[in-house]
Symmetry: none
Subunit: 129 residues, 4 copies
Amino acid sequence: MADQFDNHLPIYMQIMDLIKKDIISGQLMPGDKIPSVRELAAELQINPNTIQRALQELEREEIVESKRGMGRYVTGDQAKITGLKKEKAGELLSRFVQGMQELGFHGADIVSIVAGAVQPGPLNDKEGL
Amino acid sequence: MADQFDNHLPIYMQIMDLIKKDIISGQLMPGDKIPSVRELAAELQINPNTIQRALQELEREEIVESKRGMGRYVTGDQAKITGLKKEKAGELLSRFVQGMQELGFHGADIVSIVAGAVQPGPLNDKEGL
Amino acid sequence: MADQFDNHLPIYMQIMDLIKKDIISGQLMPGDKIPSVRELAAELQINPNTIQRALQELEREEIVESKRGMGRYVTGDQAKITGLKKEKAGELLSRFVQGMQELGFHGADIVSIVAGAVQPGPLNDKEGL
Amino acid sequence: MADQFDNHLPIYMQIMDLIKKDIISGQLMPGDKIPSVRELAAELQINPNTIQRALQELEREEIVESKRGMGRYVTGDQAKITGLKKEKAGELLSRFVQGMQELGFHGADIVSIVAGAVQPGPLNDKEGL
DNA sequence: GTGGTCTAGACCACT
DNA sequence: GTGGTCTAGACCACG
């Protein structure tokens, strides 16, 4: 079976991203309990130490809080979460735009390529890429 | 002086990207000679072995050919090169769109965000992100 | 002591062959852990970097997988392994037959030469070659 | 266009082989004049120095003789040529048989595989390999 | 001069 | 402990 994880990014970071996405998308709401290290380790087939590392880093980023003896919880700070979303979106956007410009695509090209990708209509075909 | 190379990605990969960009942008045309390992090492202030590694990988990807004792050359296969551009663009695009969708943005949102980024007009400001 | 490695072929390729043979012959089964770079380096009296190179190439050929921090493993893809054997045999065969034909030997000649070599009987002696 | 030469064997050796094959197969007979370095260089699209090296080595092996100011000629020593043929055949044979044995094929297997390859009859199919 | 290989030794992040 | 990367310096065969 194909590995679910990418080889050139640390697994713990990929796990951080998984959890962040769950939070941003609302699957995990502020204040929700996060599955225990053991549960996540079993579910993802990953060494518990690696899960531990991921959660520690999320704590450092104040996205997750641990309550002694009660497990870890999504931060109640809503601003933190919307900030997270903006930050991620900003990263994605700038990486994309900069990359496309380096490939020689310019303003309008880029927009129309994206338009073609998100809502493929009769006027756009894949060749446009 | 600030290092010209990024810490998250191995230097040899960044060198690969440098050369790929030169090829895609037309600074290096099909059949052109690529500067020798030693020249690149001197120019980029990088150990020759690292340059060697980068060029070997490009050779594996059939973007570059080495002619014994005569140096390395950009592949003459034009299709390979245009393929390279499409591949890079496709990667960037799908990573971006998929990422944005995971963050909860949908079709039109994504397009307008990109539009705002590439051609900032009076109606869009960066804060809108 | 006579070097265990041949001069015409790079050491790292010879190490690749060693490991491939272990896999084909079943000494290393699919999913088995491969000795660490350092272990192999000590055992074969070869610089670790050279071992590393050999294993990296095997990874490129998808004969071996590395699991971060956990070592390298023989691919679990059984088809890959049987494919390996067929590929090697096919190479050997076509190189041999083509070579013999270029030397002016034809069908039956070639077969009987091989027969003489693998099971020398009273009717064939090596001088016959 | 695909290069006519293999990357992991020196070109001059490959040229030596070309000429040897011509001699063994009778395309070049004992005493025949060998094309000049310039001619071969033009024909094979190879640096004359490389051709020169190949011919020098053939002289060292006494397969070719140079007559001052008159060019190079295939040796008149017929024994040398038949010896050449035996040597080449022996190399091919032992490399093949040894290789197949390392892959786990044994006597009769090897013979029947060769038989299938040189005269494919209704009883043998490729799957047999 | 060119690429290719090898050694030695070091540092790092990941598990 | 594991692989991955990088540097430094050396040697070699090829063209």
